[in-house]
Symmetry: C2
Amino acid sequence: MNKPATIKDIARMLKISTSTVSRALRDASDVGKETKNAVKALAEELNYQPNKFALSLQQKQTHTIGVIVPNLDYVLATMVKGIDEVALEAGYTVMVCQSNESFGREIVNTRRLLDSLVDGFIISVSSETKVFDHFKKIQDKNMPVVVFDRLIADMKVPSVRLDNKDGGLQATEHLLEQGYRRIAILAGPKSLGISNERLDGYLAALKKYKVKVDPDLIIHCDFNQDYAYLATKELLAMKKRPDAIFTISDRMAIGAMLAIKEKGLKMPDDIGLVGFNNEPITSLVSPGISSVDQPAFELGKIAAKLFIETMHNNEDMGHVEEILKPKLYIRESSQRNVTKTGRTK
Amino acid sequence: MNKPATIKDIARMLKISTSTVSRALRDASDVGKETKNAVKALAEELNYQPNKFALSLQQKQTHTIGVIVPNLDYVLATMVKGIDEVALEAGYTVMVCQSNESFGREIVNTRRLLDSLVDGFIISVSSETKVFDHFKKIQDKNMPVVVFDRLIADMKVPSVRLDNKDGGLQATEHLLEQGYRRIAILAGPKSLGISNERLDGYLAALKKYKVKVDPDLIIHCDFNQDYAYLATKELLAMKKRPDAIFTISDRMAIGAMLAIKEKGLKMPDDIGLVGFNNEPITSLVSPGISSVDQPAFELGKIAAKLFIETMHNNEDMGHVEEILKPKLYIRESSQRNVTKTGRTK
DNA sequence: TTTACTTCCGGGAACGCTTCCGGGAACGCT
DNA sequence: AGCGTTCCCGGAAGCGTTCCCGGAAGTAAA
């Protein structure tokens, strides 16, 4: 039972030709019923598994999807789970590579998967990435590409993403409704699209409420907790400190929260706080942090569906662009008027 | 530039044979210097990439490792990152599949990867899994298998794991040192090895301090926050409630913490709490939760190293078993005597 | 009986690559 | 001049499939 059985073995044992075996196994029409059964029975018995390499060599398909993500934090891990779910259903296997938010790493990963191992890609790009040549190579090879969450600027490919602007708008509007007026925003690096979109939402909300934008309250810092902590410390040290902070990720919200507590300020009274992603941690800390939820699992599923469609319909899926709506979960960190809205979750 | 260039193309263009091209590309000795250079130059120009399927068909190697994990929570994601790191270095690509702690899912994943796509496996088994036939099939095919974190009971394969007993011991001993005497433990399902080992450590510590074991204080519940919350509620409702709780995961610790707060008890004075994994969240909540740290990244790296060794040294790696030591990080949730130990991290 | 059409099956090429084998040319030595 | 070596290179088989094509029966129609 060492060497796996091949189609040839079956042919030899049954004294028929390999082509017949091949056809029988795939239920082709032009093969006798008895032979078909005999072949299937023997295949079963020998535990026959078609050799994927031979198949791939022939039909140049691997039924494998390369997924490249910047990391595997809560949101992305959930999205990947969604991808996995529908990919498996459709007979695809998924290869997940993390780029660790590194441009170089992303190129290496792409290269590796590209060589010949995968049928196509589902990508969320690293925050470091500013040029997309390595991804364009994929398209040159006519492989399907779907991007999700973080989009690629100038490539015409199907995509799923969150309506980040709306998320920023909901968050900021909520703070305004609660009476906060000097609202700061902790955004990510300027190269990061999702960050800019959320910032747009923030600006839109201020405009709607006719609150003047103070450039000093718009901070771009790295996408993590430590930087958010430092940035918040600076914000709170201002002569006219902000009375609320909107961070574009929950990890940053945590950083901000640490700085706020250290300063001895109380949420939501002294200062309001809203995060983004609705990670479980937001409801665990106290006070709970309001946060914009995104349907991550659903988003992953859609990404995979788009991929499979593009794979099958050879027609150019042009620029299909699915946009999902976020939903704000309000918790203690920003809820001044308890009468106003019921606490969710 | 649509069809990728093959060795044949090069041969034809240079008017030499494919075998010569093949040899030239791999720097074989018996090929003229000039031809060699010519071939290499042309290959470069055509952006030639050897077809992996053809290679695999031939030499039955894919340079791909199948990694099966129960989920992608903080610890496992970190471990996978470690695996990725050294695998990439060694020229291997990694395929990650999550079993979602489901036995059935694990079988499907194994099956899929097994078919022919991977050279071997690095596995952390699902908590649901009690029989290991699907893994034994892998060995039957003479593929290398390395297990990590959660071991497979009766299979002789190289493994890396944490010294879970020591972790349980450190945690419990610490609580005892702090003067707690009625210490409860929230363990996982009885089928979960790591849970039992940590429980062993707990028992060992009690024995060492000559504290009698109270079976009512040993709770087996599901490995997540909600169940831990419920279990803790019950514990706290006892006539003689415990004065400390050791949970075998941080997520469970969070659940416990919620129940404790709800009951109006204060940590560390009314009750002590120690978790396991040292997830970032432990230092974010307040009070910070003491937790047993495991070198997850390192553990992942070792797993991959073991795999590659097994792959190369054909000699049976017998039963290599690497065991890593955990380290307790003490935070506010369990630190009564501030004089005793300095707070770490 | 011939013709034509099904039904079922085998032969062989092809996918892209490696590797074994063998042969020709050039060279040096006797 | 003859022989053995060394250096390069081409031919061909083989990895496990699929698929096209053609052929041998059998059956129905002319």
